[in-house]
Symmetry: C2
Subunit: 270 residues, 2 copies
């Protein structure tokens, strides 16, 4: 089901700036047992991302109601929220005031082989790099051609995710996920001030780790360093945690931290 | 008027990848005296840009007919063509085969003060930089948040364009235009293999200059070098040529090459 500005619809205005320029932001979250998972975190992230682009963010109550309405009758589904700067005349100048467009759509929960979460996934090392753009780094905005090009690099169903690097051979994340490496029993996640998307699940792991007695740091992580890690974990709101089984020349068979992180995320109340 | 896939419409599918990811390309051209200007060049550029993103490009005949239909009754207008990868399920993986979406829309020819073309324009030096992304450089794709952010840096109507730099302080172009500098009577335009959009008017000037006995080169151009140029010219299909009157600490009063380039573009047949 799709709601556009609160009304059931399957189209948006052809002159919406989300289409013209990718001038907007989005979120993907899950509905489980008819409950929105981590709603507060998702809304706060949406609010921060809108603020970074000077897009007025719709109210939490309004969006929550719309997500719940769109998910009606689908107790287990994925909800996607897009907020754009709204319609605008031709040209880059932003309409003042901007009247943002809200698009809320639900889709079936994807079914992945259960072993992705337990014995891990094969990962493609993407040739497409993430450009360095501090002004947009961290934001989940609608300019996602780099992710599209990276995802188009492999077709085989046996490869579950692609690893993306910055131009200096630092690992940044998956095409659709954030990542953590494990070193000496501690978690390390790439610094995202120059490129990448800082997702809600990454934030949850960063907060949960110290509570469970595991050190967790944000650092620049080179590809070479990642390939020497004890484990690599991809995380996002839909997949949860996928440990890496195979990446480039390296294979992993033990992944105890993946199980811990999955437990933290599943047991966390909100 | 707006045509979506050939039919009069003012909306597009809410799950179009153009909206979800900026997964598409576009062109802006003028209609003058009920004739499409430089159609062949615009179509060939659209075709190259589609190919660069592996989007099947609609046929020249089909698109030309749709632009002409959209411009019916508006002998002087601006036509915009958007081609996206079409609708798709959630996720970055590209639909195979992709059924591209065609959006053709017309708008009134903008009215700019005539002195913009003769005595020149004031230009804002943008703080927003263009990220280095060789994989997307040159393509007029729908990921244009950098241009949106750069254009939002000024509001005064007296400033007509913004100059954008790459991270190494090289000039790349205007927020909506390409640029040429004049040095020792020769034209130089920035190299666009790392960022920027390689527009049709830039291509026309590159071809016309030698025919008119003016040397024209593509080079890396630093901001310092541009500020020492004899002239700076912004060009695109809608504005034609705007010489720069004021940029940062520099002012220009003589701009003879701007007049020449304007003549070449106006007199060129197609």
């Amino acid at each position: 089901m799709i709601l556009v500005n609160g009304a059931a619809a399957d189209t948006v205005a052809a002159n919406d700036r989300g289409l013209a320029y990718g001038d907007g932001v989005f979120r993907t979250l899950t509905v489980r047992g008819a409950r929105l998972r981590c709603w507060g975190r998702h809304y706060r992230k949406l609010e921060r991302d809108c603020a970074a682009l000077a897009i007025p963010c719709p109210s939490e109550q309004l969006l929550r109601r719309e997500v719940e309405a769109a998910a009606q009758g689908q107790p287990e589904c994925v909800a996607k929220i897009i907020v754009t700067r709204g319609i605008g005349a031709r040209g880059y100048a932003t309409p003042r005031p901007a009247l943002p467009t809200r698009i809320v759509m639900t889709s079936a929960m994807p079914v992945h082989p259960p072993e992705f979460a337990t014995t891990g996934v094969c990962v493609h090392l993407c040739a497409t790099r993430l450009a360095v753009q501090p002004r947009l780094a961290g934001i989940k905005h609608l300019n996602r051609l780099e992710n599209v090009l990276a995802r188009a690099e492999w077709q085989d169903a046996g490869t579950a995710e692609g690893l993306m690097l910055d131009p200096e051979n630092n690992v940044i994340g998956g095409t659709m996920s954030n990542l953590f490496i494990v070193e000496a029993g501690a978690l390390v996640t790439p610094e995202l001030s120059r490129c990448g998307v800082a997702g809600v699940t990454r934030e949850r792991v960063l907060e949960a780790a110290p509570v469970h007695g595991i050190s967790c740091r944000v650092e620049t992580v080179s590809l070479e360093r990642a390939l020497q890690a004890e484990e690599i974990l991809f995380v996002n709101s839909v997949i949860g945690v996928w440990p890496v089984r195979k990446l480039a020349r390296r294979e992993w068979t033990r992944m105890p931290h993946a199980a811990h992180v999955r437990q933290w995320l599943e047991h966390e109340a909100n």
